[in-house]
């Protein structure tokens, strides 16, 4: 499988994955993953269920350690505290506490991420996601859409320059997706990097500058987004996948 890596000098690399293997027992969920993501790119991480997308994202997010290999974010190890401060992670769950209010949830994460002026910043984010009126409401009482928007607020709260999103469009409603789009656009404008795994090919491909296809724990394709991908969503799988 060819995996053309776009050229990026290490210092310009937002993400550098070197020789990463992940074993569950004797089973290799990820095999020899080599990937360099240049700063400022938006990467759509594609692949079938069980291909290894979530495993890779978890390692990038620092939730899991690779069995072999190294992951560096702007040159520093992914598990270092200073590195994690610059990473925003959105997983499948909303990662919010039902018994706390919107502002209390944001303040907790603001404190953990060392956000300067936590109250001001949290209020700012609540406003941007249209939740300022329910600032003191308990998350338990929020509608699904409100919870999702608060989750988005949490992800961008500390101004991350690397975003790791695991199937972000699956759970979000229209309003939340709109908020996410605007935040992603802003991050991209400011030179931030985004890696998102997705099944919603159309939406992701429209946003992406680069595409990575994972198959059976290995990278089947890694390169710039091409017009063929937008015209025909199945093209990538047919060309590089082995169905």
């Amino acid at each position: 499988m060819e995996s053309p890596l776009w050229s990026a000098t290490p210092s310009r690399c937002a993400l550098d994955v070197e020789g990463v293997w992940k074993y569950y027992g004797d089973f290799p969920a990820l095999r020899e993953i080599n990937l360099q993501v240049a700063t400022g790119s938006t990467v759509a991480l594609l692949g079938r269920n069980g291909a290894g997308k979530t495993t890779l994202l978890r390692i990038l997010a620092g939730l899991s350690k690779p069995t072999q290999g190294k992951v560096s974010v702007k040159g520093a190890d992914a598990r270092q505290e200073s590195t994690r401060r610059r990473i925003g992670v959105l997983g499948h769950g909303i990662a919010l506490y039902d018994e706390l209010s919107a502002i209390e949830n944001l303040l907790l994460f603001a404190r953990l991420y060392g956000v300067p002026q936590p109250v001001k910043r949290s209020d700012e984010m609540l406003e941007r996601t249209g939740l300022d009126r329910v600032r003191d409401g308990l998350v338990r009482e929020f509608s699904r859409g409100m919870r999702q928007r608060l989750a988005v607020a949490r992800v961008f709260l500390h101004d991350p320059d690397l975003l790791l999103l695991d199937e972000p469009f699956t759970a979000l409603d229209d309003r939340a997706i709109a908020v996410l789009h605007s935040m992603l656009a802003e991050t991209h404008r400011r030179g931030g990097t985004v890696v998102m795994s997705t099944h919603q090919l159309r939406e992701a491909l429209e946003l992406a500058t680069h595409v990575v296809l994972i198959q059976r724990g290995q990278i089947a394709f890694a390169g710039e987004r091409r017009q063929e991908m937008l015209d025909d969503v199945g093209w990538l799988y047919r060309t590089y996948g082995d169905n």
């Binding site: 074993y23 569950y24 027992g25 004797d26 089973f27 291909a51 069995t67 059976r216 724990g217």
Partner: protein
């Protein structure tokens, strides 16, 4: 190669046990200060072997955490199982001896109570392993428990001993009834060596089982994946 080692150790172990049995039964005096003291020659080495096992498991867990090699985890699991078996032997022989020496099955003797507690701690280790399907997670969590468990063993042993000096109970010991004669202590250590040999054989067998089950697990994942 492994087979040869196993047979060698098994032979050495059986040989030693036979020899000490001969010594204990035919050479040493029939009566001593405590009734049926002969059982001591299995009771005490079993405890030594169990503790050797617990400490070895600690070291193996450390090696696993350092290298990430699951072989060490398989070894640790095997060692704990075998150590637990010897702990059981210690407890059962202790109870039999208590029945002969004191007329009751359980005397709340300090060492027996401590061994029971250690038994529970390491039985917990095995129960934990049972509850985790994924091998790498199982290895990680077991290693954590093994580290804390071994440190706790020291606490358990000492604290129960001090408890019993303040609140005495019937003691299972040959030493309390007057010392042992010369040459009487040696079979304890020979038996300990024998048990270590036999224990190692069991560990090797158990380790092979563990590795096979890990291979099966990965095949199952492969079949269901991608």
């Amino acid at each position: 190669m492994r087979e040869k080692i196993m047979y060698l150790l098994a032979a050495a172990g059986i040989g030693l046990v036979t020899w000490t049995l001969y010594k204990v039964w035919f050479v040493l005096p029939k009566e001593a200060n405590v009734a049926a003291y002969q059982i001591l020659y299995f009771h005490v080495p079993a405890a030594f072997t169990a503790f050797t096992g617990f400490f070895t498991a600690l070291a193996l867990s450390g090696f696993y955490l350092g290298t990430g090699n699951l072989r060490y985890d398989a070894l640790a699991a095997g060692v704990v199982e075998v150590a637990l078996a010897f702990a059981s032997i210690n407890l059962i022989t202790g109870m039999i001896w208590a029945r002969y020496a004191w007329g009751i099955w359980w005397t709340w003797d300090a060492r027996l109570t401590s061994m029971l507690t250690c038994w529970l701690i390491y039985a917990g280790y095995l129960i934990l392993r049972r509850a985790i399907d994924e091998p790498t997670q199982r290895a990680r969590l077991s290693a954590f428990l093994a580290i804390l468990g071994c440190v706790d063993v020291a606490f358990v042993y000492k604290s129960i001993e001090w408890f019993r000096t303040q609140h005495p109970s019937p003691v299972l010991s040959i030493r309390s009834g007057g010392g042992m004669g010369p040459g009487m202590e040696a079979p304890i250590y020979w038996n300990w060596l024998a048990m270590l040999c036999l224990g190692t054989v069991l560990v090797i067998i158990r380790m092979r089982q563990e590795e096979i089950s890990r291979a099966i697990d990965s095949l199952r994942r492969l079949a269901h994946a991608y």
